[in-house]
């Protein structure tokens, strides 16, 4: 399965909703507009020439300096051709909503919960979108860059010993 084949098919199907394409890095990557992310992944899974039937990974990412700071990254795998694909989509902090892919991949259930847990990205249509790893009473999304990594309840750390 050649890269050019996938690129042709995807551009033919989604055209201007594909915002960016990267063939130089390790895995062929596409950035797509967030409203069509579900359709893109459904196409990649169900189209008979594509067959990306395995969702290797789904995770969040936060680039606070960008216009669309929050992202979701999907790694797909065509097991028959042993071909991997990376799909990204970016959204705003104020409206961090993306369609769930749990209807396509059951494995997305916990991965979307984890992404919600750490980045606050809301997966619309998810059957049980609640925190999975962190404590239930946590009131922030720890992997977002605006939150300090350190435990906020520590009182004994003097900033001057840490160069701040």
């Amino acid at each position: 399965m050649e890269n050019s084949f996938i690129i042709d098919k995807l551009y033919k199907a989604f055209g201007q909703d594909i915002l960016r394409m990267d063939t130089t890095s390790d895995i062929l990557s596409f950035t797509v507009a967030s409203p069509v992310i579900h359709e893109v992944i459904q196409f990649l899974k169900e189209d008979e020439n594509m067959n990306f039937i395995f969702l290797t990974d789904l995770c969040g990412v936060h680039y606070p300096d960008r216009g669309l700071p929050l992202g979701v990254v999907y790694h797909l795998h065509n097991l028959r051709e042993n071909k991997r694909l990376r799909i990204k989509t970016f959204i705003t902090v104020n409206h961090p909503k993306v369609a769930t892919v749990t209807d396509l991949f059951s494995s997305a259930n916990w991965m979307e919960r984890e992404t919600y847990d750490f980045y606050g990205i809301i997966f619309e249509g998810h059957p049980n979108l609640k925190r999975i790893l962190n404590v239930e009473y946590m009131d922030f999304f720890p992997m977002r860059k605006e939150y300090p990594l350190e435990d906020p309840t520590r009182e004994d750390k003097d900033d001057k010993y840490f160069g701040r």
Binding site: E150, D151, T153, R154
Partner: protein
Amino acid sequence: MSANINTYNKVDPPDGYSAPGIFATTFDKVVGLARKNSIWPLPFATSCCGIEFMATMGAHYDLGRFGAERLSFSPRQADLLMVMGTIAKKMAPVIQQVYIQMAEPRWVLAVGACASSGGIFDTYSVLQGIDRVVPVDVYVPGCPPRPEQIINGFMKIQELVGNESLRRRYSGEYMELLSSYGILK
């Protein structure tokens, strides 16, 4: 063999008055003596400190020499909660529940930097010391501490157990301590 028969370690008697056939001392000293040499620890091992504890229980270091041969994996029969390792915030209610399930009198030993203070894991997901959820009697520093250090901490616990007043667990200060952790008697 027979030459060594009188050289085994034995516990010294407490202060008191002896005469032929009698020995008089205070009741809490006798109780303390019995308790401190038959502590049943509950090992709560979550990471590398737990591995050091396994060495401590092994033949080379042998915590059994201190009367703590019998580990209690049920909190109901345990005297000493030994917390060894990083405690995530999600684990904190479990630690507290285990502590609540232990019968009085009970002691807690925090083994290693993580159990004592969070250690290097100063991060949103890790409890910054188990003394945020249960009262701790002795802290053992180290990352991880060597078995000798764990034994030293255990001997400090023995000191506390041996010298504890029989009334301590009924005192107002102790009740206040427990209620400050949200643990009711």
